[in-house]
Amino acid sequence: MEHSEHFDKLKNAMIALEKDDVVSITAKSLEVGIEPLEIIENGLLPGLNTIGEMFEDEELFLPELIKSAQIFHGAMDLLQPKIQEMGTNVKKKGTVVIGTVKGDMHYIGKNIVKLLMETSGFDVHDLGVDVDPFAFIVKADEVNADMIALSALLTTTLIGQKDVIEALEGQGKREKYKVLLGGGAVTKAWADDIGADGYAENGYGAVKLAKSFIA
């Protein structure tokens, strides 16, 4: 079987959310000598990209998105040891620290952005909800992040996004990280007003913006 056939099968199994098939095709691909990074780039990620597009078109929803991420991680469990053996690395598109700002307990929108970013090849570190402004910076420093993504649903919690930017400025790190905003109460005017690098109205927009930051 040509390598391209393995990749097509893998992509289709991923789109069908068939975990057992994804794992077995991944194993088979390794057996026939395909490089792990090729399996990821040409089989798994194209499947995840299609799932992301289906999510945007409302053909799939959050549960399927979560399942796709779980399946991807299942395949990665097979691939990671081989990658380490070969001394190579999975090339991540970028590293993101994400969370819902202090005082805000809402998480679904943030979770969607996290999943879409992960399945688009970003390394995402999720700090959860009600996150202290300095915690974003500590984590970003720790993982050498490219950007910090801040979610806020409520008008009264928007100020938490400004706090993070202010804290970055206070530590002289504002230029080190791109700051991306999202959430129900956020508008472009607010993002401009507080000096964020970008604002996205939905998860897919957030991924596009994140990609543009590292292009």
Partner: protein, 459 residues
């Protein structure tokens, strides 16, 4: 029905699990299984369902979802579990009417039946942010002056001395008190002092602010309505239970409130219909609600006027109307800005979806509820009149008309038309409308609606 202390103890004694496990191992698979079990399917075309058997299956599915998934308390990381018998008893014992207001304005909101041509409860306004105390007062006075209105949602005013209050701050608590005082004053100026406010309390995001601002010396009464929300999805936190404890202790009207998210853990139209119905039952079971705020929302678009959502919202109303008849108002998040044709078209599709389905009237929230000063009383009068006109339609007759309205704004959903702000339409001294363009649009829309088959009479 379970006593309240027993309900609270369920949050302390249920199974201990991670929230992600609750969703991925309980809620999501159970909901999918239950939707299959009851063969609940949206045909991707219908906006207003008229299949009674399907509505009843949605209700049964909602009961099963609570019984099999339970709710989740993030403060204790425990699943609040209920037996099928406890759930059914809560549904049976749910109030079918609730008394609001004082004196001459006192009135009863009823849970309506499907295809019922009675006059629905008319609720207008919204908790939208205002930037200025004068605009806040004038908006409330204008809304309360609409003579057919039965209750108000008042906007929120979150700034003190020119600064916005932070969540959980003392300024937020003071803003919540200020909101209540100004709202009551705005209503008094309309000459209808007893008119109920049923979105208590728009500016209070936490239980301390809400309970503080509910103190009677600021003007709210048990005959107003106090909103207690479920966090999306199926989350019941201690803050909500604190409010339940307090507002039940003063025997106030509680508005159980839910915002099931289309595209979130519930998935698409079918999941949202079932979940929204579950929240009605949980509103009685857990919150001892007197009425419900039903506010399903599109996760990405942040509005409720898409075709699958209109179907799901109407379906949840039908499931309730045929099996429980809990008084419900439906909160329309619309994309079009205040005063625009798009806004009115969305509102027409929404009213036709929910009023013949057994829901009560709630005027529209323009511009996804994020544009400040966008509650224009004249819009809300028109939408109340539109709701009354919608009540004359059966579900079967409402569907083709709702489709026509949907077609008018379908292409604009992803990029809605921006609208007007209060200060662009009203003279701030005389409080009269001075924007001719605004008036022209509404006049033309009224004519257009009549030509399309729904005559909206001026009240």
């Amino acid at each position: 029905m379970l006593d309240l202390i027993e309900v609270f103890e369920r949050a302390d004694n249920g199974i201990l699990i991670l929230d992600t496990d609750y969703y991925m191992n309980r809620f999501v698979p159970k909901l999918a299984e239950i939707i299959d079990r009851y063969k609940i399917k949206w045909d991707r075309q219908t906006i207003v369902n008229s299949d009674d058997d399907l509505a009843d299956r949605v209700f049964q599915a909602a009961v099963d979802l609570i019984a099999e998934a339970g709710a989740y308390c993030p403060d204790t990381n425990r699943v609040m579990e209920f037996t099928r018998d406890e759930i059914l008893r809560a549904a049976e014992q749910a109030p079918q009417s609730t008394r609001f207001g004082e004196g001459r304005e006192a009135k009863t909101m009823y849970g309506r039946d499907v295809d019922e041509d009675s006059v629905p409860w008319i609720h207008v306004g919204g908790g939208i942010y205002t930037t200025d105390e004068q605009i806040f007062l004038d908006t409330v006075e204008g809304l309360a002056s609409i003579n057919i209105v039965d209750s108000l949602s008042v906007p929120s005013i979150l700034h003190l001395r020119g600064k916005d209050a932070r969540v959980r701050s003392p300024q937020e608590l003071l803003s919540a008190i200020k909101t209540v005082i100004l709202a009551r004053e705005g209503i008094r100026r309309s000459g209808r002092a007893g008119l109920p406010i049923i979105n208590g309390i728009s500016a209070a995001s936490n239980s301390v602010s809400m309970i503080a601002a509910a103190s009677p010396q600021f003007g709210l009464r048990p005959s107003d309505g106090f909103l207690i929300d479920f966090l999306s999805e199926m989350m019941v936190n201690y803050e909500a239970l604190q409010k339940v404890a307090y507002f039940n202790s003063i025997s106030a009207n509680i508005g159980s409130t839910s915002t099931p998210l289309f595209g979130g853990y519930a998935g698409g139209a079918e999941g949202v219909a079932v979940l929204a119905t579950s929240y009605f039952i949980m509103g009685n079971l857990i919150y001892r609600g007197s009425y419900h705020y039903n506010a399903p929302l599109h996760q990405n678009l942040r509005l409720s006027s898409t075709k699958p959502l209109l179907w799901a919202i109407g379906m949840s109303n039908q499931a309730n109307a045929r099996n429980m008849r809990y008084p419900v108002v439906n909160l329309p998040y619309l994309g079009g800005g205040a005063g625009t044709r798009m806004y009115h078209h969305e509102m027409a599709a929404y009213m036709l979806s929910v009023v013949p389905a057994g829901g009560n009237i709630f005027s529209g929230h323009p511009a996804k509820s994020v544009e400040p000063n966008s509650l224009l009383p004249r819009d809300h009068q028109f939408h109340a009149e539109l709701g009354l006109a919608s009540a004359k339609f059966s579900r079967k007759d409402a569907n083709p008309l709702a489709q026509k309205f949907f077609e008018k704004y379908e292409k604009l959903i992803k990029d809605p038309t921006p609208g007007f702000r209060y200060e662009q339409v009203y003279d701030l001294k005389t409080k009269k409308i001075v924007n001719e363009e605004y008036l022209k649009i509404q006049d033309e829309v009224r004519v257009e609606f009549k030509e399309m088959g729904i005559e909206v009479l001026t009240s």
